[in-house]
């Protein structure tokens, strides 16, 4: 997917890291937009390993969850409701149940 550039004014360029790869996005975009533009084809995986992509793009379906590493801890975010920010580190294609379950084992 490519961004339309003709006659469109976009926000300032920001750098985000997706699974270790640095990518340019524009301020004002959601993380879902940036990930789809980058061609990410699995935002997260179900317990059975099925890849999932955004469905509703409005915060209801929870199909766009990605793991975002913040300053203190990682947390699952809805990519469609999360604006990109410079320096954001995002992990995609993870099995959500496994990473959530790991938090139970660690206490």
């Amino acid at each position: 997917m490519t961004r339309i550039d003709h006659n469109v004014t976009r926000g300032a360029a920001v750098s985000i890291s997706i699974d270790g790869q640095v990518l340019k996005a524009c301020a004002g975009e959601t993380l879902a937009t940036a990930l789809l533009a980058a061609g990410v084809d699995s935002f997260y995986r179900t317990t059975k390993g099925t890849p999932r992509l955004p469905f509703c793009n409005m915060g209801s379906c929870f199909e766009c969850r990605v793991l975002v590493r913040g300053e203190e801890r990682e947390s699952w975010q809805l990519a469609c409701m999360t604006p990109v920010a410079d320096g954001m580190q995002v992990h995609t294609g993870l099995t959500v149940g496994d990473t959530l379950a790991a938090a139970f084992h660690d206490g």
């Binding site: 317990t47 929870f62 969850r65 947390s75 699952w76 959500v96 149940g97 496994d98 959530l100 379950a101 938090a103 139970f104 084992h105 660690d106 206490g107």
Partner: protein, 399 residues
Amino acid sequence: MQQVDAVIIGGGLAGCATAYYLSRGGARVALLEKHQINSGASGQNAGSLHFQLEHRLIQYADELGEQLDFYVALARRAIDDWRDLPGELDGEIELAMHGGLMVAESAAEVAQLEKKAAIETRQGLHVELLDGPAARRLAPYLAETVHGALLCPDEGHCNPRLLTAAFASSARRLGAQCRAGTRVESLSRDAAGWRIDARDDASGEPINLCAEAVINTAGAWAANIGRLANVHLPVFPVALTMSVTEKLPPVLHHLIQHVGRKLSMKQVEDGNLLIGGGWSAQLERRGESWSDSLGAGIDLASLRGNLATAADVVPATRELALLRTWTGTTGITPDQLPIIGEVAQAPGFYVATGGSGFTYGPTYARLLAEQILQGQSSFPLTPYSPDRFGHMNMFMGQT
């Protein structure tokens, strides 16, 4: 006019289980349910099997006194009954009895655990007091703030959407008639017994029955059915909130409760966590009465309190997506204990409602059926008899 031995009013767990045990004992049974089978609290609760004395009872330990001993003695009987159910009922009920932990977060709360453990041990209930580190060895997801926990190895959970249906199906197999969408309009009694006049809601067709025994298992709405028999029953509706999270691989094997805060948490067979513990919801009114058909509304402050309590005790829940929150309406009595037995002022009119109706429902039903069929039950129900509120019916009842 159809003659049966017993008419049961209310198709929740208590009603369907009573229908099953009465049918198993050879009685001809008709069960009448106004809405759908299992549509009330029996199907809406979170399915906890809590045999330890709960937060709501421990808070009033001094007032309840020796009633608590009886409660625990009955818990032991209920544990045996639950272990028999999977082999006895038609269909899967997703019963899990892997143990329950009731946690404490302060020295005062640990003292509460010790106090209740003394009562429970005296009555032969198996409980074990663990300190914080020992609790976390069993359940590593418990927060560092957990100072201690009381382990009851028999606790667990069962699927509330399956249990009542399994009792109803087993009762039908034994010949019981279970009618949904059937509203009881009047109850009257003469020398021959009770006459029950009901109506099929959809067709308007009248249903007229006569029976020696009428059993009121209308749960939160048992007082309304009491009125049809001209008796006062002190049962009041209370609406509660339950929530379910997304699925996870198996991580939480115990039923988690709290001795000083409202919390229940468990992981069901499908992998979802159910979170509840007695957080209120908003009953709907119709005129000056509580509505028995509108359902109760979600109170957001209450929901936030419930989820915050869950996250305090099990911090890993903070990251889970909430799939759904719903409400259910159960019945509470003035002393928090159930009302089970015959109403002296209305001979042949029995009640079974209130008091941890999911955990103890099968046992209440079984004992009540024994009382009806044999004149006495294999475990005394006298402490729960409606007679303790007999003064309310001095000027009521059947003449």
